[in-house]
């Protein structure tokens, strides 16, 4: 199972999906582009403590985190 984690005021919303299921994968891909077009940044863990930004949907990404656009304090 893969998971998309979207940061929000509750801590996070988790959306697990089965990458082997075409329907679930399509839904995950749609969620990815909806969030990134709304200004969210998507990042994936590439190793312990190592992260990489995702600019397009990666069906092999096991755990993707989305955080809202950055603003100056």
């Amino acid at each position: 199972m893969a998971i998309q984690i979207v940061m929000d005021r509750t801590g996070d919303s988790r959306h697990p999906f089965n990458p082997g299921d075409a329907q679930e994968l399509a839904k995950a891909e749609q969620r990815f582009y909806e969030l990134t077009s709304a200004g969210f940044t998507a990042a994936v863990r590439t190793g312990p403590g190592q992260t990489s930004q995702l600019r397009s949907f990666d069906p092999h990404a096991e755990e993707t985190v989305f955080f809202p656009r950055l603003v100056g304090g």
Binding site: M7, D8, R9, G11, F67, R69, L70, V71, G72
Partner: protein
Amino acid sequence: MRKKRCSFPGWSADKSVIAVLRFTPSRPGERSRIRAAKALFIRHGAERTPEGRSLRLLRHWLSPTQLAQFGHLGYFEVVGGDTGKRYRIYTGAATNVCEVDENDRPKVGLCFLPHGDLPIGDVMLAQKIALETCEGRVLAVARRFTPAGFLFSHTRPLR
């Protein structure tokens, strides 16, 4: 023979009441078990809150070195993905990031955070990912400030 009554109606001064009121010495190891149970209870309760959930996610995404720093010092360091500069992310949700010089001293403070009312762990994780993967964007939006010692000196480890 009738038992002597306590001041509470219906309670008799037998051994079970005395044990409940802790008049008997605790068995070896009992205190540590109680302490562990309390810690587990508090941790379980805390992790159901937004802050607790966000801190658990943050810990999950930190490297072992960052996790150790965070646990012992109340901050962790990241390396900027574009410039290779070192940044320190203190526990906090605003004015909690600074660039560190070669002498491990705060050089420039950076104030930036993800939009919205996010709990503290989410803010810190977003700051870490942003500095590591899109440092240029961070530097473009962040407000600079002079890091004064008192700003960061009150940071304490979150466990």
